[in-house]
Amino acid sequence: MSRNSADVVVIGGGVVGCAVAFELAQRGCTNVTLIERDTVASGSSGRCGAGVRQQFGTELNCVLAREAVRIFERMDEYLDYKPSVEFRQSGYLMLAFSDHQWEQFLANVALERSLDIDVKTLTPEEALKIVPFLNIDGMVGATFCQEDGHANPFHTTFAYARAARRLGVEILTHTEVTGIEVEKGRIRAVVTDRGRIATSTVVNCAGAYSGHVAAMAGIDLPVWGERHQILITEPVEPIMGPMVISFHHDFYCQQVPHGSFIMGIGMPGEPKGYNIHSSVDFLEGMARSLRQLLPPVAQLRVVRQWAGLYDRSPDAQPILGECPPVERFFNANGFSGHGFMLAPIVGVIMAELVTTGSSSIDVNRLDAGRFARGELVLEPAVVG
């Protein structure tokens, strides 16, 4: 271990932790140590569905996602990364299969447009012009935002990690946090299996394990793991542009630049926990939903399935900001399936909070105290 003290210790080497570390260093806070138990992008970041969307149902989520997209659009230059984070704005096509869902979509679209997010409403026939082999039986309508899309989660995370390192951030992989020393409400040190790092400031970016990390500082943080599964097919010629999402079927599917289709469905009754094994149930359910919604894609072969963890919070919304009663213990977790797409702007917000005490986008509503106050933030547009 090269440093025995740091101005800030970031816990977790996923995309959020790496983005926070980079943005801190960008602001001149370079005496930062990031601690990762395994390797960079080995957890949820490297297992995610890679989607980036701005179509949400709450103003704060729309604004966060919109600003994240602005960063994704120039990320290769911003982080000076080669080859590329492969951000493609091939759109998100969101399908409604009930009148109730459609009313919610129309409300979302009105909100999104008021925030300068360019979203179109489509009839089922118009949706067919975007994805000609879509099964529109029972479909009421769809919404489409061309500026939504996807990026490569590995390259995005590596890009942040490399840029952070260039600015002087120390990234310790294969290093596990075993304790956090707190004295009279102030952080004294982070203890790892490879030594002790004196620090006054911790940013908890440990994904599904964030509750465990918080507990080390004596904080009760309601974040837990929830398994979500994905599969990927053999690559074929490009035949589908956008990510296709149906909340009714709890389904998403997209074709990535490499040519493979990547897809997932929510599995009802998934218990809280840290299981990341694949199940046959998922494979069968996925194949059935796929055959129903995008029949030709079911003619492809699955080459690999895997699982990762959502870092679930009680309202499926992120937990951002300082976390009383421990001074300078910051959370950036609880993303519940949207951590990858929000990471670029979360990095900025957290670095602002750590260095100045306030942020350019007001995220006070997303503090950990909202659960005790009963002020949950309810987002109507979530898969799984």
Binding site: T39, V40, A41, S42, G46, F154, H155, F158, T233, E234, H258, S278, L283, E284, M286, A287, R288, L290, R291, V297, A298, Q299, L300, R301, V302, V303, R304, Q305, W306
Partner: protein, 98 residues
């Protein structure tokens, strides 16, 4: 070592599914990607239809040589299902017939 240097060019393919060469693998190791999983994630080596059956052993050998450790100490990536590519329609049909 002299023989090794001579062959370290872009014409030796390590991952046939994703067309990744020996020189690309060595370059990634030099950049600091020191596990098979990291090399897989950054280059796609081992993500193709054969799921790394050939290349993971070759990459393990390169890592062992570069890091100066016995090959048994190079951690293997997770083996993920299915063991061979399967038509999704076959899986869906099996379910419907039950």
């Amino acid at each position: 070592m002299a023989g090794r240097e001579k062959t370290a060019d872009g014409s030796i393919v390590i991952c046939r599914c994703e067309d990744i060469t020996l020189s690309e693998i060595r370059d990634l190791i030099a950049q600091g990607y020191h596990t098979i999983d990291e090399i897989k994630r950054v280059s796609r080596a081992g993500m193709g239809p054969c799921q790394g059956r050939t290349c993971r052993q070759l990459i393990a050998r390169e890592l062992a040589a570069a890091l100066g450790v016995p090959i048994e100490q190079v951690e293997m990536p997770t083996f993920r299902p299915p063991s061979r590519p399967v038509l999704l329609s076959t899986i869906a049909r099996g379910e419907a017939d039950e």
